[in-house]
Amino acid sequence: MASVRQHSFDVLIVGGGPAGMAASSTAAAHGHKVAIVDDNPSLGGQIWRGRSFSSASKRAADKTAAAWYRKVQNAQITHLSGLRVFDSAQAGVLLAESQDGPNSQYGQWELHYRKLILATGAQERFLPFPGWTLRNVLGAGALQSMVKSGLPVAGKRIVVAGSGPLLLAVAAYMRAHGAQVVEICEQASMGQLAAFAFGLLASPERILQGMQYKLQLLGTPYRTGCWPVAAYGTQRLETVVLSDGRRTREIPCDYFACGFHLVPNVELPALLGCHLKNGFVEVDPLQQTSVPDIYCVGEPTGIGGLEQALVEGEIAGLASTGRVEQAQPLQRERKKMQSFTERLEKAFALRPELRRLPDAQTIVCRCEDVTFSQVREYASWRAVKLHTRCGMGPCQGRICGTAGEFLLGWNANSVRPPILPVRFQTMAVAPAIQEIKSQNG
């Protein structure tokens, strides 16, 4: 049995993305004992991913990243990397485990806090369609993450599909790395997006960003009202089939980058009893949740992107260390951003046709290989878990549960600890999970 390490902090931040980095560096400015815990090898979250950025770069986005990395480095912050928070022992104590496994000197961690800031980010929404389990069919952001962590894509044929502004960012990134982006397929209709673009006139920086993407993407078709219906290949992807509701086209490609916008990571906030509203963590203007001393920032409060994540992080960093007046100008800034977030949600709302993506034989639960025909008769998430093994595997419903919410109206937000699978020996305390784990090898 590995030893349990105990540590106490004035302010503990869970999540090392932009929101958590802003929160921790702001909170640490006044001599408070601050720690940031993240399950990745380095800070930066989904967008920055621990890459190095130069403040001398011509790109404004790189400059921003470099500035925040510097702030975090210069502040007195304990950085706990490769540690995943999986449960709460009692009020004021979180449990985390090392990604390094039992051979490491660090096993389980007990993290005590006075104030907690949750900055857990978002994940892509995946929808099952025939062939989505083939190798080289990945999330859109996921393929980009792989390239950011070293995967060369020069000369590869890539189709980007699904929904959300992320598709454009991903396609531009792939192009910049020498890939042949065959096309970008957005499920939302032109009309839906036009209404959004009109609203964008209020935020010029974002228009600029959009134009930059466009220039980088010259020559790559951006098709709206178009979505994936199947992927083919023997074990590995060979072609994808795209539809606009009237006709279908089959396109050969090496990678299929497909994600349907983002869903917030609210498992930990929910586990701690934070009140959710429409699937997001409810916060007051100081980023306080319904639970005293617990704040929430970034994507879990609304899918608002980088700028909103940073501002919310700063607000919570100030509020959690008693500097409420200083947060006021930031609060005004945040308020302006909120209407953008709401419009984004509407613009990229999923079309009902996508509910018919899986056929009877399509695997919905990838952990346990449970098919759509096995789950569709059940009205609730609870019933599905009870009668099939769907949602009982190591992802604990993070993939199939979010899909089922949209496809079948399940309420997948009912979490139970531990929120994420834990390694074998930390699990001596949880025999039921151990059984699941050993079956999945």
Partner: protein, 85 residues
């Protein structure tokens, strides 16, 4: 912009040595060499889906430790990776 030549690191996947750029994740090494991470209940080959530690499709055995996430583990010199564990 001038980019320095990336250094490489050698790891072993199922006994075969593979060289990748320093800073690559194990998931990158597996995808690059066109190998599956695991075999599913219905015997399908699976590779990374989310690349952020939530889908668990990328779990492999690393240096004897089972169920490690290839997408959140950086390649270290002489690391021993076993797939289909």
């Amino acid at each position: 912009m001038h980019e320095p030549q990336p250094e490489t690191v050698q790891i072993h996947i199922n006994g075969k040595s593979v060289r990748v750029a320093t800073g690559s994740t194990v998931a990158v090494a597996l995808t690059l060499t066109e190998q599956a991470c695991r075999i599913s209940v219905r015997h399908e080959e699976r590779g990374p889906l989310c690349a952020m530690g939530i889908c668990m499709e990328c779990r492999v055995t690393i240096d004897g430790v089972p169920s490690r996430l290839a997408c959140q583990t950086l390649c270290q010199p002489n690391m021993d990776v076993r797939t289909h564990g």
